[in-house]
Amino acid sequence: MAGAITNNSKSNSGIYAGSAHVLMLPSWLIIGFFLLIPVLLMLVYSFLTKEFRGGVIWEFSLDAYDQFFFYRGLFGDEPPVFEWTYVGIFWRSIWQAGAATIFCLIIGFPTAWFIAMRRGANKSVWLFLITIPYWVNLLIRTISMKFLIRDNGPLNEWLLWMGAINEPIHMINTNFAVQLGLFYSYLPFMVLPIYASVERYNFALSEAAADLYASHWETLRLIILPAVKPGIIAGCILVFVPSLGAFLAPDLLGGAKTFMIGSLIEEQFKGNAGNWPFGAAASMILLSMVLAMLTYYARQQSKEVS
């Protein structure tokens, strides 16, 4: 997602100005027809009546959103009571994605800093090393993590052998496993934008701070962190947003107690729940949250530029 948010291309000329629309036409058609219209259709579906075992009946209904927030008894005839189940799943997703983002920041910032301080060709090699795992199939990375942290998996065996623990640590199917999976999925997204910010950092500022008797850590806290804040915010958004709707990490590394938005939505279409309008409504709520965050981010970015 990096670099996709801001539009900073300066078109200095218009060699193909006459053909602009012809050149754009295929992408407009394909994405418009197969993504934009489907998303709008999904919005419509979220206001329709559910048909049992998947699909919809074309009749306007607010049931999907109502079911999301309220419980009206087994037969739907009792006065509405606020329903925590689905809001709770969203809340847990936010919490899990937030924790993964913080892990990424704690590990990612020093890494980005370290790489930015390398010289010349070393830098690109280090960056390459950080990005390779991202391009490895996400499913395979998640399976690898599942294999590694199982109760009798290599990590536990190794720790037992070392004598660091007496019995295996139970990690699989816990919140921690899911956070670890999300962390592992999106860590490069944190490193790259922070690296870009640190690259631009002017070291004269650190020197000035040191001359004025700022301690080493005060310089980091008061001078460096504010200067590279845009990169940190970008990294946090790039990790948080895909974590929020992630499906593989919670599904493979978590259990029933770590159910997240992605699994909730999947269940409406692939699983037994089979409630399409409700799945569409949950998707719309997720999409609105993500678009709100991206819009906020784009605003911040344009403020930085101007």
Binding site: A4, S11, T111, F114, L187, K270
Partner: protein, 270 residues
């Protein structure tokens, strides 16, 4: 005050955290790679080195299933990457070489829409769309969905490359009475080759990688490699999965390395 000069660029603890970062990124992958050579029916016990699970992948009872899935994955990735790279190249030419035209900002948003919308939402929307227009899910629906989400990934390196190429070459061609189409085909495209190849390779990997969207739009009876692996893993991790994972892992690493080297060669040739 004779304090020793401290290095402002150095923070204690940053280096260990960097190594921890590399360790966390690579440890799971290396473990799977090592265990794929394990000569044991149990995935936990180490039974010595062997290639038996690789032979199982190619000749074992599940081999036909995985071969069909691999064939689907590869053909979809090649077609999707080719189509999306073509579309992205045309779009980049308009965005970067056509000045300011009506609908330019909208075009920019549209091209990036597939990476802004969460994958699971794209999956739901696409499934609903195909079901609403009565289109049977299968190979074609997977292919269409893949073309859509590959476009922005192909677009990024292509647009970056085009931005870095001065348009004076094309201007010179136009001055020498080339038509615009000739300037595009004979001057811009050859200069763009590394960027286009880079975009193609990234789109190829992204297509090969996808699980969620494919899982929604594939319908019954057709599998790509990720969905077949996922189905297998749901019944517990078997040793042959380690071997398949390692093969797929190597394909990704080879392609990304190629893309990186091509990109770097492109930088140097400028």
């Amino acid at each position: 005050m004779a304090s020793k000069k401290i290095d402002l660029r150095y923070f204690p603890g940053f280096l260990p955290l960097t190594y921890l970062c590399l360790f966390l990124l690579y440890a799971p992958l290396i473990i799977v790679l090592v265990y794929s050579f394990n000569d044991s029916v149990s995935i936990t016990k180490w039974g010595g080195l062997s290639l038996r699970w690789y032979s199982d992948v190619f000749f074992g009872p599940e081999a036909p299933k995985f071969q069909t899935a691999a064939f689907n994955s590869l053909t979809i990735a090649v077609i999707a990457a080719t189509v999306s790279t073509t579309i992205a190249t045309l779009a980049a030419t308009a965005m970067i070489r056509a000045g300011n035209f009506k609908g330019r900002s909208f075009g920019f948003v549209l091209i990036n829409l597939p990476i802004m919308v969460p994958e699971i939402v794209t999956a739901v929307a696409t499934l609903i769309f195909f079901s609403a227009i009565g289109f049977t899910t299968g190979y074609l629906t997977i292919l269409i969905a893949h073309i859509v989400f590959c476009i922005p990934f192909a677009y990024l390196p292509i647009a970056a490359r085009m931005q870095s190429i001065d348009n004076t070459y094309e201007q010179a061609a136009l001055d020498l009475y080339a038509t615009k189409f000739e300037a595009f085909k004979l001057v811009l495209l050859p200069l763009m080759a590394p960027g286009i190849l880079s975009g193609f390779l990234l789109a190829f990997i992204i297509s090969l990688d996808d699980f969620i969207i494919t899982n929604f739009v594939k319908g019954a009876g057709i599998e790509t490699l990720p969905t077949a692996i996922f189905g297998s893993v749901k019944r517990g991790i078997q040793p042959n999965i380690m071997a398949i994972s390692t093969l797929l892992l190597l394909v990704s690493v080879v392609f990304v390395t190629l893309s990186y080297l091509v990109g770097r060669a492109g930088e140097k040739s400028k």
